[in-house]
């Protein structure tokens, strides 16, 4: 027993804004998820690609610096290897005109290669227990006996995933952007590339939000987090495998249908649509994007970003409805 007991007293302190009710759910979710050693390691690993990307952006900086025109430098060699000598020569002739396109290409390269895999791993670690644990222990009654709505509950859970997904994708990208601006030859670089930051932010939202909602919906379907993990992995891996197989069959070679099976393809297409490398490049006279870069930076012509947007919006809406139904069901018993 305590030596001194205060007893029960009514709380007379301040209350936080009603608009921030979801914040407590998100903050606590982050706090609990951060206790996972695996998640912490994945978070550190997510920054490893910057070891390649930082020198690449320095190389791009050198490429756009007239003083390095025709110079032999290991970082310039790296840039030449990635973008091809013809494009590098064209950029060196008129660096300001090409800057935004080149930067968007570099960010599309970052966002389209290793980062979706890291996001997938992060979501696999965080999302499965988020709702399934509440289903198992009927913890909804703790949430919904307090002034919390279903929207705020889902927003708080979604915020937890989005935060960790952003720390492995958007935050490294922003760090890269800030570093590149800081070490760019002129202050004008900031104004030339001002449109890049909102584009990459929107691009990563397009990657994170639908993925997180799908994972949360799967989590709400079961009381066991491990089943939710398996469900999420199967959805992603088998969906993408089905896309790979079907898109190469003769009958479906020109069809949009196989793309609809792969969440990754829809997300990636929308991301590339938002970055809009091809649209920006088409406005630059003399812009010749090498084919291997175009494959990485531009959406597949069979699947338009708008279709991907509609598909992802539909999937997200269905997931929200499904989650609402699952979390409301225990209340009615």
């Amino acid at each position: 027993m305590p030596v001194f007991e205060l007893g029960y007293r009514a709380y007379e302190g301040q209350l936080i804004s009603p608009r921030l009710r979801w914040w407590a759910i998100m903050r606590t979710g982050i706090q609990l998820a951060w206790r996972s050693k695996i998640l912490r390691r994945v978070q550190y690993l997510a920054w490893v690609p910057l070891l390649y990307m930082i020198p690449l952006f320095f190389g791009i900086g050198l490429m756009m610096d007239p003083a390095y025109k025709g110079a032999r430098h290991p970082l310039l060699g790296m840039v030449r290897e990635l973008f091809g000598p013809r494009l590098v020569n064209a950029v060196q002739e008129n660096p300001e005109a090409f800057r935004t396109t080149i930067w968007l290409m570099a960010f599309a390269f970052l966002a389209g290669t290793i980062q979706p895999i890291i996001t997938g791993v992060v979501v696999t670690i965080i999302a499965p227990p988020l709702i399934s644990n509440d289903v198992r222990t009927k913890a909804f009654l703790v949430y919904f006996s307090k002034p919390i709505s279903r929207w705020e509950y889902v927003l708080g859970k979604l915020g937890t995933i989005v935060f960790f997904a952003f720390t492995t994708t958007l935050f490294p990208a922003i760090a890269l952007y800030v570093l590149s601006i800081a070490f760019s030859p002129s202050f004008g670089t900031l104004f030339d590339t001002l449109s890049v930051l909102p584009k990459i932010t929107l691009g990563y939202l397009a990657l994170t939000v639908p993925s997180a909602l799908v994972a949360l919906f799967i989590s709400s379907l079961t009381t066991q987090a491990r089943f939710a993990s398996v469900g999420w992995i199967v959805t992603i891996v088998f969906g993408h495998a089905a896309f790979q197989v079907l898109s190469n069959t003769f009958e479906l070679r020109e069809s949009t249908f196989p793309f609809l099976l792969s969440l990754f393809e829809s997300v990636h297409t929308l991301q590339l649509g938002i970055l809009g490398v091809r649209d920006v490049a088409s406005q630059v006279p003399g812009m010749l994007i090498p084919e291997h870069i175009m494959d990485l930076c531009a959406p597949d012509p069979r699947y338009s970003p708008w279709t991907a947007f509609v598909v992802l919006a539909g999937i997200s809406a269905l997931c929200v409805v499904g989650i609402f139904k699952r979390i409301s069901a225990p209340m009615k018993i």
Binding site: Y143, F144, S145, K332
Partner: protein
């Protein structure tokens, strides 16, 4: 008024969970009783705004349950019967989290969680993960979660189930104290009638979704007719005959116990004379009181569907309390 129910009905498909409840419930410690499936949990969920009413209006502390659910949940606490564990948290984190969900700032919520855990009697265990808690500890933690945001009314669903006698006594003391010292009204839904007898001021009994009884416990326990109960050592049959010869009617309520209608002082003389006459010893003589058990059983029996050809259920006439509601 604490709770106002006006023709409250709730239907799940073909099942009528609540059927035209009508009551005005005053502040205090209220026992919510009823057999399984009577609608107790549904009524609590309706009052919290967790399930929508089919018809009628319910108000909690003046707030409409249809339109002002958030306002209600801000001033009402709920201790669910189910485990409702927030996985991966310690007790202090779980209670602080419950406070944060009710809009308390993080640090205030943490400070408040410690105060409330002291109050309900969770000591150093508060730093242990809640999954490792015993049933009694979990009950205390849930009680703390219900109280952390300083509600004006608390719904407690089976608060003492699974607790040891000491923990149970402490929990009941807290419940009593909450209203009588702190002004927090409490609604206890339970099957343990002695808990209600020990700590409640009024009782609300539901059966098959209908309100059977709502009144102060003290009023309910007063028998409708004055009578006394006599316990004797000796032959009960000859004692009964001796009383009947003196013009007193009797009814057996136990193997050595009789109930005799009439005023205590008038009956007492006849009882001792009859006992002397038949060589019995009067062990106990007291004015009759309705036990909560008899009140409950009589009320619930009135809603049971009678078997074909069977007599209508019901106890002694003075215990016929079904439909008794003082609003």
């Amino acid at each position: 008024m604490l709770i106002e129910l006006e023709n409250v009905s709730k239907r799940y498909g073909a099942f009528q969970a609540l059927d035209g409840l009508q009551a005005r419930i005053r502040p205090g410690v209220i026992g919510l009783l009823g057999p399984n499936g009577a609608g107790k949990s549904t009524l609590i969920k309706v009052l919290l705004g967790l399930v929508k009413l089919t018809t009628g209006t319910a108000r909690v502390l003046g707030h409409d349950t249809r339109k002002e659910t958030r306002a209600i949940r801000q001033v009402v606490g709920y201790m669910p019967e189910d485990d409702c564990i927030l996985a991966g948290m310690s007790a202090v984190e779980a209670v602080a989290y419950a406070g944060e969900l009710a809009r308390l700032p993080y640090l205030n919520s943490l400070r408040r969680a410690h105060e409330i855990l002291d109050y309900v009697g969770v000591d150093e265990e508060r730093y242990r993960p809640v999954e490792s808690f015993s049933t009694g500890m979990r009950q205390k933690m849930r009680m703390a979660q219900a109280l952390v945001h300083s509600p004006k009314l608390v719904f407690l669903d089976e608060p003492t189930s699974g607790m040891d006698p000491k923990g149970r006594a402490r929990m009941l003391r807290l419940v009593r104290e909450l209203f009588h010292k702190k002004g927090v009204s409490v609604v206890i839904s339970t099957h343990i009638l002695t808990d209600v007898e020990n700590c409640c001021d009024s009782v609300l009994i539901l059966g098959r979704g209908k309100l059977l009884v709502y009144d102060d416990l003290e009023t309910l326990r007063k028998p409708v007719d004055a009578s006394v109960q006599v316990t004797i050592d000796g032959e009960l049959g000859s004692f009964e005959r001796a009383l009947e010869q003196r013009g007193l009617k009797t009814s057996r309520v136990g193997p050595d116990e009789l109930r005799i209608p009439g005023d205590g002082e008038q009956v007492a003389g006849a009882v001792f004379l009859a006992a002397g006459e038949c060589g019995a010893t009067v062990r106990r003589l007291a004015r009759s009181q309705n036990s909560l058990e008899s009140i409950f059983l009589d009320a619930v029996a009135s809603t049971a569907a009678p078997a074909p050809g069977a007599k209508a259920p019901g106890g002694s006439p003075k215990n016929d309390l079904a439909g008794r509601s003082r609003t």
